[in-house]
Symmetry: C2
Subunit: 330 residues, 2 copies
Amino acid sequence: MRTLLLKKEEVRKLISMKEVIGTVEEAYRAFSENSVMQPPYTGIHLPAPRGEIDFKLSYYEGNEVISMKSSSGAFPDNPKLYGVPSSMGTILLFDARSCALMCVMDGSLVTGLRTGAAGAVSAKVLARKDAKVIGAIGTGQQARMQIRALREVIDIQGIKAWSRTAEKMASFQADIERDFGLPVALASSAQDVVASSDILVTTTRGTGPVVEAKWVKPGTHIIAIGADQQGKQELDPALFKHAKIVHDSTAQCCEKGESWHPLTRQIITMNDIHGELGEILLGRKPGRENDEEITIFDSTGMAIQDNTTATKIYQNAVVNKIGEFFEFIE
Amino acid sequence: MRTLLLKKEEVRKLISMKEVIGTVEEAYRAFSENSVMQPPYTGIHLPAPRGEIDFKLSYYEGNEVISMKSSSGAFPDNPKLYGVPSSMGTILLFDARSCALMCVMDGSLVTGLRTGAAGAVSAKVLARKDAKVIGAIGTGQQARMQIRALREVIDIQGIKAWSRTAEKMASFQADIERDFGLPVALASSAQDVVASSDILVTTTRGTGPVVEAKWVKPGTHIIAIGADQQGKQELDPALFKHAKIVHDSTAQCCEKGESWHPLTRQIITMNDIHGELGEILLGRKPGRENDEEITIFDSTGMAIQDNTTATKIYQNAVVNKIGEFFEFIE
């Protein structure tokens, strides 16, 4: 039995953002076609100041692969004390025909990539065709990843960015201008960003609204990334009242996504949810229907995105003869 | 970050059954001392004729290791179609201080070893001091493993065995006599085995009682291995009425172990459960108190057994310089 081992730097080179957009789109379609099994996540919260490690499983009939991704995060002392990153991950891929272990790959990069691609997939069907200004509230790694993915599907003319820390904003501006050659204007407030954006990306770790409903102009598409756990929140719940609300997984978004807040406060009911992104991609539900509507994509992240993305990385590695085979069972 | 890779045949040589008895004893103590986290198991049941793959997680404060074991089973076509075993497993060990991946080892052998050792640990505190005849109902791989472990703690004089298939019985007899030099008498019935055993080991995949209460003589210790899922059963529920009942995990045994049956049929109540094996090992509860009582150890299996056992294998590998290091993150 041959198992392919892939290092972090090999994974980085083995997939393009364009390909990740394809694998994430495939994941959403598969999910809405019910050809996916995703048991509930499990995880272990370690005693403070350590963070947590989560395990996400999925099986996809379409590729006959079972994926298991561990991801650890919020270990601030790691670089200094142990010489390892504060967030890490490992992905196992099993051939679902036999459950043979096909691949062990470093999984540190996959979460960021597939979350970045999620926003771009939503923009393809929910942003205005003439959208050109991207607003970024939150300027961390995931904000960079959203821009990296959006530029594959949107003809970006400029970016307006804001975060609480001036230093972080400046470093975001420098990185985006250097890496992508896109002009970044730093905003004086979150409101300033919202008022000038065609597509608004929120990637904060906020636990209360940073975007007020009245700031949002008609035709805006909002990519809400930050809220993926109970207690996290970035948007004014009132914003949901008159928006087209689209989920990655309705079950998850209603339990721990941005949508939990307006539902719990009875600002909307389940009938106000437009549907899942996979249903739109499959043509079962419409995407954006006019230039006036406000659309919200609530993204909480799904194991099937890891499955299709890691499988593509594995396939690219095999074709390009990258990585090392190891026989755990000889 | 250095990750140790260990193959199945290396794992086989890296730990003795005596050591596994030690690691399983440590696991039970740790569990009953509340220094363990074990989230609920998750798994994926594949479409027939394929079986399932399960994932078991644990964290143990005592060794600061997080373990994740995948185990797949019931893939009967694997050897013929794919050239791999019908059951396989993989274990990941993470350093809980940083969540760095310490080890990827083949996990095919660990479940069998730690389950075998469980019976022996129970026999140390629950079997009569003069116990010498082992009865085996069920003669598969796990029956062999139980004997292999029991001989480390019991001065076995002979074994009486029975299973439904004459061919399997004969092969069990030949293997045990060859491997351990112990005489095996094949019984004509389950009753014949029960009536002559000091320690009775049940390892069938039965879904109904094979051991009747009235067959069991005073002073018998029963190691009930087979029932680890809803629907599985090996013992007459009436047997629990006057027995000392000991669990690996009371929560698990009452939900999916042998104990579920007498509890559901109200033959016993929770007050009739003596306690967990870890509590006896810690001296918080007595083990066997006289030569007359019938004792039952209901074993359902716990992730912490994988944790302590795999950690010992890892430590032995490091000391003996076995295995290959790999840098997933350079």
